[in-house]
């Protein structure tokens, strides 16, 4: 089986044997894919300059099974290099994708959201809203979209001035039953998330807490290592 050159990003790479690289990529048509880039660590490899994190690429591969072989890699247009907090944030996105997505499962809408998030990150100072909106898109895409408009119990519209208790993969309660695990969040944070308008510091910090709580059940037991880098 052969997959022709098309849009993709490198999520992770590490050296393999003497001169090769093992890649984890996110591609428009195939989603997350594991590839081996033979000889890519050689000084003169044609792949060497192209295989960089966060850079729009065109990749082609061949083979079947767990690990296909990279057969083509080109840089796909200009990009803005990331630095500082934006760069750490981008590693966080990659870690999130490798932990949440299954291999060979296409997510074209999420792919577009990832590209958009990297572009937003390149304009310094937008890290937190960009991360929260990407997390929201990620949850929608894997079938666990947030419920942000109505009380799950009474179906009453969310009111900005009230406090709610969000239950993972279910939604906000005004009066949750005692036995369920929830995180407290203000109505206006839910409304801001629904509208994708995250400006106020308090809304941002509540959104972060809410997302962390919800994502915990989707990333498995280990905490995300890239979170440690934000102090």
């Amino acid at each position: 089986m052969r997959v022709d050159l098309h849009s993709a990003f490198v999520l992770h790479q590490r050296s393999y044997r003497e001169t090769s690289l093992l890649l984890e990529i996110f591609s428009l048509r195939s989603g997350r894919v594991g590839l081996i880039a033979k000889g890519a660590n050689r000084q003169r490899s044609a792949f060497r300059g192209a295989l960089q994190f966060f850079r729009p690429l065109l990749l082609a591969w061949a083979g079947r099974g767990e690990l296909a072989t990279l057969v083509g890699a080109e840089i796909d247009g200009p990009f803005s290099a990331l630095s500082g907090r934006a760069l750490l944030s981008a590693f966080y996105l990659n870690e999130l994708l490798t932990r949440v997505l299954h291999r060979d499962d296409p997510h074209p809408a999420l792919f577009a959201a990832y590209r958009q998030a990297l572009e937003t990150l390149a304009q310094a100072g937008n890290e937190e809203p960009a991360l929260r909106l990407f997390e929201k898109r990620l949850l929608e895409d894997i079938g666990y979209g947030l419920s942000l408009r109505f009380d799950v119990d009474t179906n009453a519209p969310i009111e900005p001035e009230r406090d709610y208790y969000y239950q993972s993969d279910k939604g906000p309660w005004r009066n949750p039953p005692a036995h369920i695990d929830t995180v407290k969040v203000q109505g206006r944070t839910l409304i801001a998330l629904a509208a994708a308008l995250l400006h106020e510091p308090e809304v941002l910090s509540e959104s972060k807490r809410l997302m962390r709580f919800i994502l915990a059940s989707h990333i498995g037991g280990r905490p995300l290592a890239s979170r440690q880098l934000f102090n």
Binding site: H12, G49, L82, N94, A225, Q228, L229
Partner: protein, 171 residues
């Protein structure tokens, strides 16, 4: 290589094995800078002719060797033995950030030159260490990247070139 030695050169294999064992037993890490050293405090850290107020942070012992060969640096070093790589689970502890913090808090260091690689992981590591240095009130600088000396622009890869343009300076 192992097969070649076993078939064709068993004496050589024996000598190589002994040399590796001796190296592993003898070589350790300097307790101050983490560079490879067979004594507790390496020759550079112990030297009174090196300037202790400038600390150059590198990823690997081989980087120390390269900078020493260039003979362009008179300060001291700190060797991370790696770089931050969150997806491989390599966090701040694994690259000796606690030890680096102690060194920076010691009062001798005034400037930290961050010479990690020009890769995304090297840049992320540089940013992280820069924040640590600034939190201690120290000056943090990053080595420049760009066109190799004697290099023609047409042979320089596009990433290096765009970086060199972004980091241009006044003439």
């Amino acid at each position: 290589m192992a097969f070649h030695l076993l078939q064709r050169n068993r004496d050589g294999a024996q000598r190589l094995a002994e040399a590796l064992l001796a190296a592993m037993a003898g070589v350790n890490h300097c307790e101050r800078c983490r560079n490879l050293s067979d004594i507790p405090l390496c020759a550079i850290c112990a030297s009174e002719r090196r300037d202790p107020s400038v600390l150059c942070v590198v990823e690997n012992p081989a980087d120390v060797q390269s900078i020493e060969q260039a003979a362009a640096f008179q300060g001291k070093y700190f060797v991370l033995i790696g770089r931050l790589s969150p997806l491989d689970g390599v966090g701040p502890e694994a690259i000796g950030i606690d030890k680096l913090k102690n060194l920076l808090n010691g009062g001798e260091v005034k400037e930290v030159i961050i010479a990690t690689g020009a890769t995304a992981e090297g840049e992320a590591t540089a940013h992280y260490i820069g924040e640590v240095a600034r939190a201690t009130g120290l000056r943090a600088t990053r080595i420049a990247h760009g066109i190799p000396l004697g290099g023609e622009l047409e042979y320089v890869d596009s990433t290096t070139l765009s970086h060199a343009i972004a980091c241009r300076r006044d003439l």
